[in-house]
């Protein structure tokens, strides 16, 4: 778990997950796209999603934003890239997205990413591990904020000289 690339990938997952959850959980006032009568571009997008997820599933939010298929296509390209296997596995990324959704109280996001975790092989114990970490750090963070604690643990992590994706190595450039 060393290297900036891992954190960039995690940040991408957090960002795009939150973006989709925001739309899915607040746009009930907008009519979802009716796939049968949707423009061809939207239907192609939905087909790509079903292929990516290998099941009849459309990530939350897309049925609303697909009203603008050109915009939705860019968001989907972002999401597909963020969730694909790179340095971080798709299994871990879906677990991060589940933790994000639970923490931000997105029921639709939690449900979707929980289904993906299970599809990718995470068992009941693994799900509870992510729930446990999410709960415990939802507790620690609020205790820390209530007492306005200042960060004091930065010294325990060694400096990481590995490069960001496409970037130049820092320090001696070694990958540890």
């Amino acid at each position: 778990m060393t290297g900036d690339a891992l954190w960039y990938e995690a940040a991408q997952v957090v960002g795009i997950t939150n973006a989709l959850n925001v739309a899915a959980d607040t746009l009930d006032g907008l009519e979802a796209v009716d796939e049968a009568s949707a423009p061809a571009e939207a239907r192609v997008l939905f087909a790509e999603m079903r292929d990516f997820y290998q099941r009849d599933a459309i990530p939350p939010g897309f049925r609303f934003i697909a009203r603008d298929p050109t915009y939705a296509a860019e968001v989907w390209a972002t999401m597909r890239h963020a969730f694909a296997d790179h340095r971080l596995s798709r299994r871990l990324k879906e677990s991060l997205a589940f933790a994000v959704s639970v923490t931000s109280r997105s029921a639709s996001g939690a449900d979707f990413h929980l289904s993906e975790m299970r599809r990718l092989g995470v068992g009941p114990r693994g799900v509870m591990e992510i729930v446990g970490v999410t709960q415990m750090f939802s507790s620690y963070t609020k205790i820390a904020d209530t007492l306005q604690l200042e960060p004091d643990m930065g010294g325990i992590a060694p400096e990481d000289p590995s490069p960001a994706p496409g970037g130049a190595p820092r320090g001696d450039g070694s990958l540890t």
Binding site: G132, L147, E150
Partner: protein
């Protein structure tokens, strides 16, 4: 600035010193003073003890590695906008 006075480890009773030892072992780091959060949790061992054990159980290796769980913890902290 913290809203409470963070006491030095030496000010805590022996029952709390066990929590500090557990914290040192968990992080595998010889802190000059235990982290602020450890000192907060040690203020009331009847809260901090089970809370710490629940955290240790959640963070221990299982289907996910400790490193993967630290990343989940960082993400949760980020969503909660917690700098600590």
């Amino acid at each position: 600035m913290p809203t409470v006075r963070l006491r030095a480890a030496a000010e805590y009773p022996p029952s709390s010193q066990k929590l500090f030892e557990a914290s040192r072992a968990w992080f595998n780091y010889d802190f000059t003073e235990p982290p602020a959060m450890s000192r907060v949790m040690a203020w009331d061992v009847e809260f901090g003890g089970p809370h710490g054990r629940a955290m240790k159980r959640a963070m221990g290796p299982g289907e996910f590695t400790r490193g993967e769980k630290e990343m989940v913890a960082a993400v949760v902290s980020g969503i909660n906008a917690c700098e600590y």
